[in-house]
Amino acid sequence: MKTALQRLTALVSLPLLLAGNIASAAQQIIELGGNGAPANVQLPRGTREVDLVTQRAGNCRFGRTWGYDLTTLELWVNGCAGSFRLTVADPQPGAAPAAGAPDSSNAAAALAAAAAIAGIAILASRGNQDHNQQAAYPPQGGQYYPPPNGGYYPPPQGAYPPGGGRQGAIRGPNNLCLDMRGGAAVQGTELNVFRCHGGPNQSFTWTPRGELMVQGLCLDIANADRNDGAKVVTWRCNGGPNQRWAANGAQIQSQMNSKCLDIFGGNLNSGTPVIMYSCNGRANQRWYW
């Protein structure tokens, strides 16, 4: 095991010759290692994953004879030639959310990812299987299912309303929750953050269309304002694009303009308004459910 690790480290740190060329930025395909020599190439900003599409020569195995680095943005081969497909997102943590409602808890997914890096679990990813009925990641102090030895996990009673959306608190930093100010289901009420208390004005439902409902109203960008700082209110659901949201990691983005739900000014205290702002990946734009 030690030797494998050393081998990996040695491979990565080799002074590699630049021998690759990007066939087409639009195709996002890179051919590398054509002459059999070790080679590396710079990856474009925003690269999220590289996959081997076709092996041309050698024995291509990730981590052994080819690999990449999302920190330094390099793709390398050593004993492998092939064509590689890049998955490139916008380098800013903003544009292009996957449309629609999330199908599982992003907090659970983040914990699983960290646990895998810590070596507590061998695998982290959740696949594309139907997780709509999956157990919600339990809120703090809740019970944990299933029992470690197996068994299954019945969804909490009433947690998944007909239509398949998730329902529950949307947690921000500092034990703050997304909250309809004042708790009265009145159109035009501003959204703010408030200490999490589990009340109905902190219980949100993702609908399959990507709406976020609280007490029968929809989260709504006031007047469909496209600017940074636009107010977020509750409004009668009308299917408008200013009422459609998408989860992108821990960000909640508007499908209207891809801006992010943001705690105003990064002021992490109860009562601070929630507004729309250009996505930046900072703590005041991270939400978990």
Partner: protein, 153 residues
């Protein structure tokens, strides 16, 4: 060490909480089986290096919120589960080889490839379900190591 029983429970709970099977109706796949079958994209009964690396990249992207190429303590701390986050941060210090308080992609790859090699006991460069289950059985041992490595924190 005084807190060990609680923290061990927390780790088991951590795994349990993140690994619920897809459907209550299906005939109770175990936690590990479900995760494994999710990762085994081509359904050949093995998680090979190709499938494993997608798992690594996806988990990295998920935690690098600001997309600067590093996972910071602050990014992990934003997960709203203080107890588990505290344990995870401690466990993650081993992966932070240069000790700069953040994890580069290379550090993440190095750590996870090490676990891959540990789990791949027959050295065929792929993880069978049995190997994954056996790795999970090492959980408690690993927790003790983590506890022993940072008793003062």
């Amino acid at each position: 060490m005084r807190k060990f029983p609680f923290q061990m429970l927390a780790f088991v709970a951590l795994l349990a909480g993140i690994t619920a099977p897809a459907s209550a109706q299906t005939a109770q796949p175990t936690v590990s089986r479900q995760i494994f079958s999710d990762a085994d994209a081509d359904r050949d009964g093995y998680v090979d290096l190709n499938e494993f690396h997608r798992d690594i990249a996806a988990s990295f992207v998920l935690l690098d919120h600001d997309r600067d190429g590093y996972i910071t303590r602050e990014e992990i701390s934003s997960i709203p589960d203080k107890a588990r986050v505290k344990l995870l941060l401690r466990a993650l210090t081993a992966a932070d080889r240069d000790g700069d308080g953040r994890l580069s992609f290379k550090e993440v790859i190095t750590a996870r490839m090490t676990y891959f090699d540990q789990a791949d006991t027959n050295h065929d460069d792929r993880i069978s379900l049995d190997e994954a289950l056996a790795y999970d059985a090492l959980l408690q041992k690993r927790i003790r190591e983590i506890q022993g490595a940072a008793p003062g924190k």
